[in-house]
């Protein structure tokens, strides 16, 4: 049943996200006035073509998971449009949204936490079917077995509970659940972060196989740059609720444009002592500022090794500086902002973690 589908021949991308904002309000005072927001996602735009994998990388707290959840409207977005397969998910009525759900699914980070410990494997995988189909039990069970086959789970396990499985197997369960309704688009929210190295590869390979067979479109959220390099076609680097750089994979890894992307790549450990010894790493100082109180200018200005005055005052926009490469950084002036040809080197290094 899991046959390859012909890739849709459309000009418009399958996923189109425009200026997505996800603010979590802060209320304070006696009257619980709205006094501020945690700007978890603050104006993010990107698109994903059908059959493509977009990698979304960044450190914890940068808002990448929030993007994924807002995309599937697990959170109510504050602003922006999320067009999936022609419909603006951010504005669908609850009933329409429910009908839409089968097209978009999610694989979660923690395979332990995302599986109800009191449900058997077959009930977990079958849950979407219970919600969206009126199949007979037999038909459901057959389909569940098929799903289990396709993610490499022994049918014998159908009545076991999640705790009886290893992390990798659990993640396969999560993937099978996501596949149950033949989705077009899957948000993979750090699907391998909690797994052992040897198992990570199994899961990534599985995801790739499935994409090839089923023509799936992925948003692959991860903090593991090396895995993202392997799986993604294009990569978006997020920092503090905004996209710092969005580039095709090979371009990004060969020559990161944004100073943050550069620092992030240089921080990745090289599993070869020879290369490791030779590499020059950029060690960022301090921590990420609080998203409730981001810096006035560029979000990265507090840690940027190449910070300029303008960075502290003006937020850079995400602009296409090369073909297909989008960067939000004052180092790459647009024609409009080209007036100030500020020296690229920083006049003063402000590296303190802001602890406001």
């Amino acid at each position: 049943m899991l046959d390859a589908r012909p890739a849709p021949v459309t000009t418009a991308p399958l996923i189109q996200v425009e200026d997505l904002k996800m603010h979590f309000p802060i209320y304070s005072g006696i009257l619980r006035r709205h006094t501020g927001d945690v700007k978890a996602v603050d104006g993010v735009s990107f698109f994903i073509n059908a059959g493509e994998t977009l990698g979304l990388v960044g450190e914890s707290g940068c808002g990448k998971s929030t993007v994924g959840r807002a995309l599937l409207r697990l959170y109510e977005p504050t602003a922006g449009r999320v067009i999936i397969d022609g419909e603006d998910v951010a504005r669908l009525s609850p009933e329409a949204l429910r009908k839409k759900r089968p097209t978009m699914q999610m694989v979660f980070q923690d395979p332990q936490a995302s599986l109800n410990p009191r449900m058997t494997l077959s009930r977990i995988i079958g849950e979407p079917l219970d919600e969206h189909t009126d199949w007979t039990d037999k038909k459901k069970q057959d389909w569940i077995y098929e799903l289990m086959d396709s993610v490499g789970l022994n049918r014998r396990f159908a009545n076991r509970f999640p705790h009886e499985f290893s992390g990798g197997q659990r993640q396969r369960i999560g993937i099978a659940r996501a596949l149950a309704l033949n989705p077009k688009f899957i948000v993979c929210d750090e699907p391998i972060a909690a797994l052992d190295v040897s198992i990570q590869a199994q899961v990534v390979n599985l995801l790739e196989d499935l994409q090839d067979r089923l023509g799936l479109t992925y948003l692959f959220i991860s903090h593991d740059l090396s895995m993202v390099r392997h799986i993604a076609d294009r990569v978006a680097v997020m920092y503090l609720g905004k996209i710092a750089e969005l580039s095709p994979r090979d371009d990004l890894y060969a020559r990161p444009l944004h100073p943050y992307a550069e620092a992030l790549l240089s921080a990745v450990n090289e599993p070869d002592p020879v290369i490791a010894a030779k590499r020059r790493r950029i060690i960022l100082k301090g921590d990420v500022p609080s998203p409730a109180n981001p810096p006035l200018g560029c979000n990265f200005c507090t840690r940027c090794p190449r910070v300029m005055d303008i960075c502290r005052a003006v937020k850079p926009d995400l602009i296409e500086v090369e073909a297909g490469r989008f960067v939000a950084c004052h180092l790459y002036p647009t024609t409009a902002a080209a007036g100030s040809t500020g020296a690229p080197e920083a006049t003063e290094r402000n590296q303190q973690g802001v602890t406001r």
């Binding site: 290893s166 990570q200 590869a201 199994q202 992030l264 240089s266 070869d272 020879v274 790493r281 990420v288």
Partner: protein, 340 residues
């Protein structure tokens, strides 16, 4: 390095068993190794390979029951930790052996100030007065790169970021100038940029303080950048042990090789498909009478099912001092599949 007089730590034939309702779990299976002064020994393995349990067994940190250390010797500067009374052992913990745990979010007590928690071992082991301990605590925080140290002594763990907390944990572990620092996946829970900061810090501290470190991790990338010598564990036992360069250049055990291949690289050519070690790690419900890796091994043959291979040296130096491996498989064949 092995030339120096006596290793600071010598572990011989350690066995640890967990007793559960479903039977015994043989978590650590006849593990022997040593640690030279000033050396950084990397311990690599998947979760469940016994690496953490081994290190916690050393200073008997595992709750007993269910943990039961069956066998072995743990000689710290010649004294057997396993034979010590609880009171003697207490004087070793935190004083001679420092410990840094994986999750800095839960490893600090949320209701006491950072200062309180740093000063605790100082006062317990060094008999410092409150004022002395405070001065030392400030020094330690400075040492691990926490700015504004004196003020932050009064802060609570939740007011620190993950990286900062791990620095605090390191400060606590270093408080009494230990001979050995055991770091159990200290960077796993951290972001790459923070991980890089911590690794940088440890390198720095090693130079300054010169203590011996055991660094447990599942990330070969971390080991490559920091360790002197690497010990690979699988199924509760040591399967390969070698100096770091040697191990990466000339891995002998099929598991080590597979492990090295599964890791995608950030630079160089991108594989079309990741190499995979099929199957799952073994469940150690009974003492192993066969090679623990045999079910996942590409080179499995009859011998693997018959006996659990002993560690043997492959470079002529005694086991543990040079490059050794626990595999029935013959070294020459290894050359055929030398990693690309």
């Amino acid at each position: 390095m092995a030339d120096r007089a006596l290793p600071v730590l010598e572990v011989k034939g350690l066995r640890t068993v967990f007793r559960t309702r479903g039977g015994e779990i043989h978590a650590v299976n006849d593990v022997s190794f040593h640690l030279e002064r000033g050396e950084l020994l990397g311990v690599v393995g998947e979760s469940g390979s016994g690496k953490s349990v081994t290190m916690m067994s050393l200073i008997r940190l595992l709750p007993a029951p269910p943990a039961d250390i069956r066998n072995g010797e743990v000689l710290l500067n010649g004294a057997d930790l396993l034979k010590m009374t609880p009171e003697e052992l207490r004087k070793v913990r935190g004083a001679k052996v420092g410990f840094v745990f994986q999750d800095p979010m839960t490893s600090l007590n949320p209701v006491f100030t950072i200062g309180n928690q740093i000063m605790e071992p100082l006062r317990a082991h060094m008999g410092m007065t409150k004022a002395e301990a405070e001065t030392r605590a400030v020094e330690l925080l400075d040492l691990v790169g926490i700015p504004d140290a004196r003020k932050r002594l009064k802060a609570y763990p939740h007011q620190f970021s993950g990286g900062m907390r791990q620095r605090v944990m390191i400060a606590i572990a270093l408080a009494c100038d230990p001979d050995v620092l055991i770091a159990d996946e200290p960077t796993t829970a951290l972001d790459v940029t923070i991980q890089a900061q911590i690794l940088e810090l440890v390198k720095e501290l090693r130079q300054k303080l010169g203590m011996a470190i055991i660094w447990i991790t599942h990330d070969l990338g971390v080991i490559a950048g920091i360790a002197d010598r690497v010990m690979v564990m699988y199924g509760g036992q040591v399967v390969e042990q070698a100096p770091v360069g040697e191990l990466f250049a000339n891995p002998q055990h099929p598991y080590t090789r597979a492990l090295l291949k599964t890791v995608p690289k950030i630079s160089g050519g991108r594989e079309a498909r990741l190499k995979v070690i099929e199957g799952q790690p073994p469940i150690l419900t009974q003492a192993l009478m066969a090679c623990p890796f045999r079910n996942r091994c590409e080179y499995r043959h009859e011998a693997c099912d018959k006996a659990n291979p002993a560690r043997r040296a492959i470079d002529g130096r005694p086991v543990g001092r040079g490059h050794d491996v626990a595999c029935h498989w013959h070294a020459p064949a290894a050359q055929e599949v030398e990693h690309a």
